[in-house]
């Protein structure tokens, strides 16, 4: 009896730790394994919301990896559609996949996009010892001989990282963009390692993924795909100023279930605004290479609606979907 009791106590202690406060506290679903961008959004935003008092209890983070976010999307739509205490991390990858119909037929209007509180601008990176000094050097060389180049990125083929160099190369005059080679690795860090190692010629990813390597001098960022240069990284030129009109950033934000009241929607929008205004978030953004980009509530929902239309058209143009 004693051993049984002991065992039950231990088991419940271990399991109970995970469920602390889950009954009433808000839950943030990160639709990926720990360690990635969505996980970062949930943990950072959840922590700051609690620290600045926007929520009473620590936000419980649940990782629900699967189908590139599709599993969590499906779960929210079909099983938690009216849960007012549920938030889900989202980014450009979410809208890209929704636009490309990669969530098994589910559409963006099945949830409500609350807001974005930062953007991770796209970057094109080469190893420090690469012969290509500017974006034009690289793009012109690829246009001349596409077969000699491979891009490495942290998303699968057809994902957002893949589309960035294709958009640039279209502007550079490459007619058959299907010739551009791309390998998808398990994350931006892996993609950089392969590029520094000389296995691929260039890396396409997000600013946050390259910050550490930039400081160590292993890589050269040829272009950042934002409107203006990123504060703190003022010596990196944008693609726009080098003559290629491409702006592609990975915004970090949240969506909530469709079935909640407008009041709940506004409540979360307000909390997100509070986080965006906090010093803690500004610090976190600076440390992780995020640029300011705050858009909450109805404005953000409109932005998303337009974005999806745009990505769908772009995906058709470059042949990712029919």
């Amino acid at each position: 009896m004693k051993t049984r009791l002991f065992k039950v106590l231990l088991t419940s202690a271990v399991l109970g730790l995970g469920a602390t406060g889950a009954a009433t506290a808000a839950e943030c679903i990160a639709p990926a394994n720990p360690g990635g961008g969505w996980d970062f959004t949930c943990r950072q935003v959840g922590k700051i919301m609690f620290d600045i008092g926007a929520v009473d209890k620590p936000v419980q983070v649940t990782n629900m990896a699967g189908g590139g976010g599709g599993l969590a999307f499906n779960y929210v739509v079909s099983e938690r559609n009216d849960d007012p205490e549920l938030i889900v991390a989202a980014s450009s990858a979410t809208t890209t996949r929704l636009a490309q119909n990669a969530y098994a037929g589910m559409t963006a209007d099945q949830v409500r996009f609350v807001g974005a509180i930062g953007i991770d601008p796209g970057v094109i990176v080469v190893a420090a010892d690469s012969p290509y000094k500017t974006l034009s050097d690289l793009l012109d060389a690829i246009v001349a001989d596409p077969a000699a180049f491979t891009f490495a990125g942290g998303s699968a083929v057809g994902g957002f990282d893949h589309m960035k160099p294709l958009m640039l190369l279209q502007r550079a005059g490459l007619t058959d963009i299907t010739k551009v080679k791309y390998i998808g690795l398990d994350g931006g860090g892996d993609a950089i390692t392969q590029t520094i190692g000389g296995f691929t010629q260039a890396m396409t990813g997000d600013m946050s993924e390259v910050v550490g390597f930039l400081k160590s001098g292993d890589i050269r960022v040829l272009a950042v795909l934002s409107d203006e240069r990123v504060p703190g990284f003022d010596d990196i030129p944008t693609a726009v100023e080098q003559g290629y009109d491409v702006v592609a950033g990975n915004w970090r934000g949240l969506y909530i279930p469709r079935g909640v009241s407008d009041e709940t929607f506004q409540k979360w929008a307000g909390r997100l605004q509070q986080v965006a205004d906090s010093d803690e978030w500004k610090e976190a953004m600076a440390a992780n290479g995020l640029a300011p980009f705050t858009l909450v509530g109805t404005d953000f929902q409109n932005y998303i609606d337009n974005l999806i239309i745009e990505i769908r058209q772009m995906s058709k143009d470059i042949g990712v979907i029919q």
Binding site: K7, L15, A156, V157, K181, T193, G197, G198, G212, S216
Partner: protein, 501 residues
């Protein structure tokens, strides 16, 4: 010396009564999490991360707690491997091969203490390695492109031939089943789903833990039901625990070699602790030859994988800290923790935030000593958790399996899948087909295929690219040698052995 100074600074940060208490608490919970089948180190650390926020821990304290849990779980995984023949976590898989037969032969206590010591040696050497070599070893990752990774996984599969079964064809069949299962999911090189039947739950493939818990734990439950509790393999008796000094001394070189192999496997991003324990076991097995009796419950077969997987756990921290590239699932979780604490691992971490790095290394050393003290004399307490009558234990194992797997993705689909794997495991065991190669096929197959596909994209389908660097050629030679050598060498080696016999 710089390193000693830095280390002293690290200890001054990590050695306060409060952080020491956190280390002890973390080690204790880590060991239990590791021992429970299904709740592996990565789940354990992920589950406990919110606690660090609730307690309002600062960066160093949070790191001490989490690394203690991490190392603790690596230690704990062996307990259920040895006593239940159910790996507590992925890397502990290899420990079942010799640990469980040893326990059945009435030497459960010896096996537990020996594996505890081996874990300590592996983890300790790896931490020392991390201490001295981390900045240098970071560059090893740059030498490994798709072709080299493919050759590395090929090496792992080539040494698989002789394991876990007397019948090589059955081993090969099992590995092929595993490889087939590994093909399920989104094809990374084309973005198209394969063998998913349009089911979103299968888009990311089959989680390794679902397969392992199904094949081992659930299949065991089926056997229990079939035999009405008689002749079940679960529920090994544990007698008095003594320190088997002779075994420890006899396995000293095994532990050292296995630590080296495990550490190197841990450094390679994506390879991780499972490959470390596997490679360590296979290396020792081939050194010992047939006479070594691997698979029948020998001390070396317990010491090698445990030293290997704990060394790999330390090695996996190298790419995580220096490149920001996690070497295993658990280090990915630790990476998440660091980033939440506003610490971005990467090439500059050692110079930018020395207090974090050296505090972490010091806390690893502390956790390691605490774990040795906790695991050797107190092993009985942990065993108590698992030493209940089978009719209590089995429902318990079933419950823990279900809860553990549900906590992975929060979907009942994985539970159904787990039961399916249980049925598969039952059938395979009835046909006397080993299940370990199935697991290795699932574990390594996806990575191996991705590496090959990436290499082919880069080289436009030119197969010669696979042999284009010294590293890959070396690995190919080792792979071919590993595959062919046992067939010929065994005959040559047997003669002199007979004389000594």
């Amino acid at each position: 010396m710089d390193i000693l100074q830095n280390l002293a600074m690290g200890f001054s940060i990590a050695l306060s009564p409060y952080t020491l208490m956190l280390a002890v608490v973390g080690c204790f919970f880590g060991t239990i999490i590791g021992a429970l089948p299904g709740l592996g180190p990565s789940n354990g650390v992920a589950i406990l991360i919110p606690i660090t926020f609730t307690l309002g821990l600062d960066a160093t304290s949070a790191l001490v707690l989490m690394t203690a849990v991490y190392y603790g779980a690596m230690y704990g995984g062996r307990i259920s491997s040895i006593l239940l023949n159910i790996p507590g976590d992925e890397p502990a898989l290899m420990t079942t091969l010799d640990g469980y037969p040893m326990a059945k032969a009435g030497r459960a206590g010896d096996a537990l203490v020996l594996s505890g010591v081996a874990s300590f040696v592996g983890a300790f050497l790896a931490t020392i390695g991390l201490l001295f070599l981390a900045p240098m070893l970071a560059n090893v990752a740059f030498l490994f492109g798709p072709a080299e990774y493919f050759a590395l996984y090929l090496l792992a599969f080539c040494t698989l031939g002789g394991m876990a079964s007397n019948n090589q064809a059955k081993s090969a069949l099992a590995a092929a089943i595993g490889l087939g299962i590994a093909m399920i999911g989104i094809d990374n090189s084309s973005g198209l789903p394969r063998l998913t039947g349009g089911n979103l739950h299968l888009f990311d493939g089959i989680d390794f833990l679902v397969a392992i818990v199904g094949l081992f734990a659930i299949a065991e439950v089926f056997f229990f039901i079939e035999s009405h509790g008689r002749n079940t393999s679960i529920g090994v008796k544990l007698g008095k625990v003594k320190v088997p000094w002779r075994d420890i001394y006899a396995t000293r070189w095994t532990m050292l070699r296995a630590s080296g192999v495990g550490f190197v496997a841990g450094i390679l991003p994506g390879a991780g602790a499972s490959l470390g324990s596997f490679m360590a076991y296979m290396t020792e097995k081939s050194i010992a030859g047939k006479k070594g009796g691997f698979g029948t419950g020998v001390a070396k077969g317990v010491a090698a994988p445990e030293a290997g997987n704990n060394a790999a756990a330390g090695g996996a921290l190298v790419p995580m800290l220096t490149l920001g590239v996690p070497g295993s699932g658990t280090t990915a979780v630790l990476l998440a923790l660091l980033m939440t604490l506003n610490i971005t691992p990467g090439p500059t971490l050692f110079t930018d935030r020395p207090e974090v790095v050296w505090g972490l290394i010091a806390s690893l050393l502390i956790a390691n000593v605490v774990l040795l003290l906790m695991n050797v004399p107190m092993v009985k307490i942990f065993v108590r958790v698992l030493m209940v009558p089978p009719w209590v234990l089995l429902p318990g194992v079933t419950m823990i399996s279900f809860v553990g797997i549900y906590s992975l993705s929060g979907s009942y689909f994985d539970l159904l899948l787990m039961i399916g794997f249980g049925v598969l495991g039952y059938i395979l065991r009835k046909l006397d087909i080993p299940t370990v190669p199935v697991i290795l096929g699932i574990l390594l197959g996806g990575n191996m295929e991705n590496a090959l596909r990436r290499a082919m994209v880069i080289a436009d389908g030119d197969f010669l690219y696979l042999f284009s660097s010294p590293v890959s050629i070396g690995l190919w030679i080792a792979a071919i040698a590993g595959f062919i050598a046992p067939m010929f060498l065994r005959n040559l080696l047997r003669k002199p052995q007979r004389i000594t016999d």
